[in-house]
Subunit: 113 residues, 3 copies
């Protein structure tokens, strides 16, 4: 894949966030879909999150959401997630695909906005 083909291929955004409870994750997924801010939301099996707090390494069980949306919805997704999220400083990290199945990309566009 040359760099040129990559930049003119259709693309979607993949966004990761985490919450502490399965029910929180499902409520956020439902809200994102109903507001057409996301095309689909995957909820992963529980994960262990390790981080430092006050100089000590802590570990908590969390639930990860993997959200797919169109590139044009980035700002709206960030704002909506911020409003819905139970954390004060939520992990909201977005990556952009370099290539994607064309019909899938079209479906994502049709589901959002």
């Amino acid at each position: 894949m040359s760099d040129e083909t990559m930049t003119d291929a259709p693309s979607v955004l993949v966004c990761w966030t985490t919450v502490s409870e399965q029910e929180q994750a499902r409520a956020i997924a439902q809200a994102l879909l109903e507001r057409r801010v996301a095309a689909c939301v995957q909820i992963d099996a529980p994960i262990e999150s390790h981080y430092c707090w006050d100089g000590r390494v802590c570990c908590e069980t969390e639930v990860r959401l993997v959200i797919k949306t169109s590139v044009g919805q980035a700002a709206r997704l960030k704002e909506t997630l911020r409003a819905l999220h139970p954390y004060e400083v939520p992990q909201i990290v977005m990556l952009r695909s370099v290539d994607v199945d064309r019909e899938y990309a079209r479906w994502v566009d049709e589901q959002t906005g």
Copy 2:
């Protein structure tokens, strides 16, 4: 990491797709590896996929495949996945690394093509 070092670092492609059954995921993994279209295929623990269908929010258990291949195999991977995939419109989303362990990148290249 400056933007320059990132663009001349070796890179690999990470591709996500999902199917509904573990056995489908294993069959696709086997086929991708035998055809040298992928260097490795990881099958995640089952996930919940939430999406809208006919205006209603649906939820299904799915199995995610995380596929690593060389950048040159992008088109072939998309075509092969399309041919193998049980869905009419499969999620095939590819991201490109900005940095990768050099020996790992070399191994991915040697395993594909």
Copy 3:
């Protein structure tokens, strides 16, 4: 999201690696956090890794670490992971976000370096 807004948005690095045991994953997570090479490390539920070895398709259970750090820590993270990792050729794959919650990005910066 235009390409301009994406390039000047704050960004973080997401790094994937895998090991064969949960305790190895926890030890690596602890070391990365204590050395301030990572802001947080997520350990996923066990995955199946399929790959070819000597022409045969093999399958092993592995544990995936998903590491978040600041862009400036890329080289240090790679070196540290290399030194800590039990594999001869570890999968160390880094992707860069195109957009991220500003306060989260600031937190990642404050936790690393």
